[in-house]
């Protein structure tokens, strides 16, 4: 039993040590709100996306798996090219044009993505 506990402790330490620091690519301390026009959209696995043209640049906005978006009422046609949407989310630390969206607003419909 003692051996089992020791081993379990060791493995837990190893697993959490590797997960401990700097793995999360998206910076939750710098949330951003972007409004723009959809240039391209993908309602696809493993997660949907839109290319969003804002005043200063075009962002790649990572959304949620299509099944989840559909369940929450964000249908495919609501992400049609040319549409105006607002997203709130976290920028990628290493890719300055990428943002992971927490929520998206299309018209007056707000959809939580996490």
């Amino acid at each position: 039993m003692k051996r089992a506990l020791f081993l379990a402790a060791l493995l837990t330490v190893a697993a959490t040590a590797s997960a401990h620091h700097g793995w999360n690519e998206y910076d939750a301390k710098q949330p951003q709100q972007l409004t723009g026009t959809i240039e391209e959209s993908g309602y696809q696995q493993p997660h949907g996306f839109v290319r969003l043209k804002t005043a200063d640049k075009t962002w790649l906005v990572v959304l949620a798996p299509p099944g989840r978006m559909e369940n929450r009422g964000l249908a495919k046609d609501m992400l049609a090219v040319g549409g105006k949407v607002t997203v709130y989310g976290y920028p990628n630390r290493s890719k300055p044009n990428e943002l992971r969206a927490e929520r998206i607003t299309v018209g007056d419909k707000v959809t939580e993505l996490r």
Partner: protein, 156 residues
């Protein structure tokens, strides 16, 4: 490698995986079943070498577990490749590359173990020699790290 990824991502199968509501999750599930078998079998064997379940004859245990670990691998590799085709940009992802390197290291560790200390297993007493236990410990750590990388891919 980049060319292969681009080609694979453009295949109708990759497109189907991206568009279908159920196919991708099903492939994910197959991948998980695959690693419960492969890593489960490897972990049970490693724990035996580390001194747990010493009443079980180590060679008989290996004869039972090894074929199942191959079944696991047979589920893992195709499902992993299929998921990869939907996101060829993974080749630029450090966690993905680390995961591939760790898989290679785990495979090499198993290979060296089977070509080395395992050949003398017939003459082992109830405890495996230190050299074999080192391989077992390494195997456990490497496979856990592989799973950690796989899981973290969803967050980086």
């Amino acid at each position: 490698m980049q060319e292969f990824a681009a080609w694979a991502a453009a295949t109708p199968l990759a497109q189907l995986l991206r568009d279908d509501a159920w196919l991708y999750p099903v492939v994910e599930i197959v991948h998980i079943v695959g690693f419960t078998l492969l890593v489960g079998a490897a972990a049970m064997f490693d724990l035996r070498l580390l001194g747990f379940g010493r009443s079980l004859p180590v060679q008989a245990l290996a004869r039972h577990l090894l074929p199942w670990s191959w079944v696991g691998l047979l589920l893992l590799v195709p499902s992993g490749l299929l998921m990869f085709t939907t996101q060829p940009e993974l080749l630029d992802n450090d966690v993905f590359l680390l995961k591939l390197a760790l898989i290679a290291a785990a495979g090499l560790n198993a290979l060296v173990f089977h070509a080395g200390p395992w050949r003398a297993a017939g003459g082992w007493p109830h405890t495996a020699p230190a050299w074999a236990r080192l391989h077992a410990m390494l195997s456990l750590l490497l496979w856990i790290a592989v799973i950690a990388c796989g899981r973290l891919l969803a967050y980086v």
